[in-house]
């Protein structure tokens, strides 16, 4: 079973078609698989508590731009990674929200620019968002950013209207 997992991951990594420096080597031995072989896993979901919503970014993430912005084939690849890395099981099908917050509401807890979304994935966030930086290649994170940003684009979820049909009287 473990072998099967590695294969399925490798297939995903191979299919991204990215030829940037270092990515090929990374693809053969992704960080996640390495991590499973370590006796003491590094901290993955713990996050420094000093990163708070609304606080200015550090480390230059805000200046980053997504090389894949608006690239449909990369967005499609990002949607596959969203399933493969179990993002969907936290954030819901189509990013609609589950254990983790919705990514499809056009609202952003920690900022919605490409650099800010990259930072959220790379560094993790305090309420259990894992830090994926160094565990998966940066170009895969950018594919995820492109996918996630596509989910809520242009949505207005401000109003929910309940008029009209409602539940029929029950009971008893």
């Amino acid at each position: 079973m473990r072998a099967m997992h590695c294969l399925s991951l490798a297939a995903i990594f191979a299919s991204n078609g990215c030829a940037r420096n270092g990515d090929a080597a990374e693809a053969r031995e992704p960080g996640i698989v390495r991590r499973q072989q370590q006796a003491t896993p590094p901290v993955f979901i713990q996050h420094p508590d000093n990163i708070q919503p609304g606080v200015a970014l550090h480390g230059g993430f805000a200046q980053l731009t997504n090389p894949f912005e608006g690239d449909r084939s990369r967005i499609t690849e990002g949607s596959a990674l969203f399933v493969s890395y179990n993002c969907m099981d936290c954030h819901g099908a189509d990013g609609s929200g589950a254990m983790g917050p919705s990514l499809a509401d056009g609202r952003w807890h920690f900022g919605g620019t490409a650099g800010e979304v990259f930072q959220s994935i790379y560094e993790g966030r305090p309420e259990g968002m894992p830090a994926w930086g160094g565990r998966i290649p940066d170009d895969q994170i950018w594919r995820l950013v492109a996918y996630v940003q596509s989910l809520g684009a242009g949505k207005d979820v401000s109003t929910e209207n309940f008029t009209g049909k409602t539940i029929s009287k029950m009971g008893h």
Binding site: R35, D49, A93
Partner: protein, 612 residues
């Protein structure tokens, strides 16, 4: 327990789902107005709980998990006069599962994360706090818990209040001062473990168990020393016999539960290491047999193709020696679970007649839709009958204890299996039932939901969900999604039912005044006649109810009934995320399972107390 929403919900055919177990109300029972029990010779199977008659010192009031109180000032004749007496805001939103305790004229509350504890002085006007305790609790736990950040309550013994923190610690505080006595890390967030369950305290041992069946955990149950927090034993629910604590005393009733290292050999390779079997539900204890009873959660992942075999001891009821943790018997309710049917629901210990013979029984309303009456000394299944509409199995074979599965409802990787009833929320979930020796009946909050199920390959990544399936849900057959029922566990039949538009996700309380209480997701707290199911009184609280009512005697000698209001858990976070009105950064669209719920309720966090 987790549910993943999907926009592409296929509408389920109501007529395609067999309506097993949906007897209409028994009109004969409605005419009974007090007097003889409906099921004769049924008794709570354990001695009276510690504390006074008017107190509530452990989650289900007694070790039998009866949730029955002998208080009888509130009766089926005067319940219509109930009024709100006082309220208290917990300061926390999210799902308020669980229940308060009342000891020494003090009420103890534990909130959802961040798991604040309050001690309320019931002797003073205005009910001021004696203390509040704000534990250190890792924020990372919020996103590691599958199904909202709930807590199911505390236990009290020997001047100590003990409960679990979402981030995996167990804490004990001095009940008089609120001072922390000890704080012990039991679970590891980095492996996806959290703790949501309520402990019980048995002979100076605190019994706790883990959550995280959706995160690839390896489930366990452990005993801590009440005085120091020192771990005394820990039994795993997968793995070798030594780890599971199977030894010479292990005598399961059924042949399929016997064999060496089944917790290893019923899994492929090392899958048992991440195979689930968490202990997030309720615990019971029989002092005569010295056995602790607990259920175990679903196996991980939900994708069954990644774990061929029985997957022992997931989806099972286990009986362990309270002193050593040794397994004495085991019964796997749903072997090789294909539908996320955890077996963690409460086990109610009652002595009752079955087929003319008095039995020391354990009654369990499983997620899988069958109500089991077991022999609690041996694990033998005496009866198993559907208590909600269901179609995944035809019956339970009493020779083997195993369900006879309808193969058209068997889930398989890559295949979309439609209209499986009950849904993965189960015929009943965490909402605990109650038992009244006055009527001999069990009072059971139930769900009436069905699902489609499609599984897919999933990779284990520590600290992330390990699920591998989508399972959109919708209402079951009939125009109702929940029902509060009275159940005869001697004969395996429903006696009456109160249908509700939404799943009944709050627990039950039975009282000697011939009154039973429960709350609804749309915010009604109701009192019903225990014999007939007639609704006697109802009150609209602020937020939907997912907690469990209790009753106590105040210092003024009056009987009170208390319940949390505060929707959440699976129902208020995952199934109907749009009830959360306070999160500007997490706006969820209306779900398909309970599309109307947000019209009737929003998140809250209040204690409501009622009296005549």
């Amino acid at each position: 327990m987790l549910r993943i929403s999907s926009l592409a919900l296929v509408s389920l055919s109501v007529s395609a789902c067999k309506q097993l177990g949906t007897n209409t109300d028994t009109s004969g029972a409605r005419n009974v107005q007090g007097g003889a029990p409906i099921v004769a010779d049924a008794r709570i199977g354990t001695p009276n709980p510690p504390g006074a008659e008017g107190e509530w010192t452990m989650p289900a009031r007694d070790y039998a998990s009866s949730r029955y109180s002998t208080l009888a000032q509130i009766t089926s004749a005067n319940a219509k006069n109930l009024k709100a007496a006082w309220t208290f805001s917990t300061g926390v939103l999210r799902g308020h599962e669980g229940q308060p305790l009342v000891v020494n004229n003090t009420m103890y509350l534990v909130t959802p994360f961040p798991n604040v504890a309050y001690a309320i002085d019931l002797t003073q006007p205005g009910y001021p706090l004696k203390w509040k305790y704000r534990p250190e609790n890792s924020q990372a736990a919020v996103g590691t818990a599958c199904c909202d950040v709930v807590n199911r309550g505390a236990a009290y013994a020997d001047g100590r209040l003990v409960y679990n923190l979402l981030d995996g610690h167990t804490v004990a505080v001095d009940a008089g001062s609120g001072k922390q006595l000890w704080r012990v890390q039991m679970a590891d967030l980095n492996r996806g473990e959290t703790i949501t369950m309520a402990p019980i305290i048995v002979k100076n041992r605190v019994i706790v168990g883990s959550s995280g069946g959706e995160m690839g955990v390896r489930g366990w149950i452990a005993a801590l020393d009440l005085a120091t927090g020192k771990e005394l034993w820990r039994g795993y629910n997968t793995g070798s016999d030594a780890d599971v604590k199977i030894g010479p005393r292990f005598k399961p009733f059924y042949a399929t539960e016997r064999g060496k290292d089944l917790g290893l050999t019923s899994w492929p390779g090392d899958a048992w290491k991440i195979g689930g079997g968490a202990v997030w539900g309720w615990l019971s204890y029989d002092p005569t047999l010295n056995l602790i009873y607990h259920g175990t959660s679903n196996p991980g992942p939900w994708n069954q193709d990644q774990r061929p075999g029985d997957n022992k001891w997931t989806c099972a009821i286990l009986a362990r020696d309270a002193d050593t943790g040794e397994l004495v018997w085991a019964f796997q309710v749903t072997p090789h679970d294909l539908w996320d049917y955890d077996a963690v629901n409460e086990n109610i210990l009652v002595d009752l007649p079955v087929k003319g013979q008095s039995r020391h029984a354990l009654v369990h309303f499983d997620r899988n839709g069958f109500a089991y009456t077991l022999d609690r000394a041996t694990g033998e299944v005496l009866l198993a009958q559907p208590f909600v509409p269901m179609n995944w199995a035809k019956y339970v074979n009493l020779e083997t204890g195993r369900p006879q599965i309808d193969t058209s409802k068997a889930t398989k990787q890559g295949k979309l299996v439609k209209n499986i009833c009950p849904s993965l929320e189960g015929g009943k979930n965490q909402q605990p039932a109650a038992f009244s020796p006055q009527t001999g009946l069990f009072y059971v909050p139930t769900n009436n939901l069905c699902m489609d199920f499609q599984s897919r390959p999933v990779t284990y990544i520590a600290g992330t969900p390990y699920i591998g399936a989508n399972a959109p849900e919708t209402g079951g057959p009939g125009n109702y999604k929940g029902e509060f029922i009275a159940w005869d566990a001697s004969n395996g039949r429903k006696v009456w039912g109160i249908r509700e538009p939404f799943p009944v996700w709050g627990g039950a309380l039975a009282t000697a005044g011939n009154v039973v209480f429960y709350g609804t997701l749309d915010g009604w707290f109701k009192a019903a006649n225990a014999r007939t199911g007639e609704v006697l009184w109802q009150f609209r609280v602020g937020s939907g109810i997912v907690g469990n009512p209790i009753t106590y005697l105040g210092p003024d000698g009056r009987q009170y009934v208390a319940v949390y209001s505060g929707i959440g858990g699976d129902m208020g976070l995952l199934i109907a995320g749009d009830v959360a009105a306070n999160l500007p950064f997490d706006v969820r669209e209306r779900g398909t399972t309970l599309p109307d719920l947000a019209r009737y309720t929003s998140w809250g966090g209040m204690l409501f107390v009622f009296a005549l």
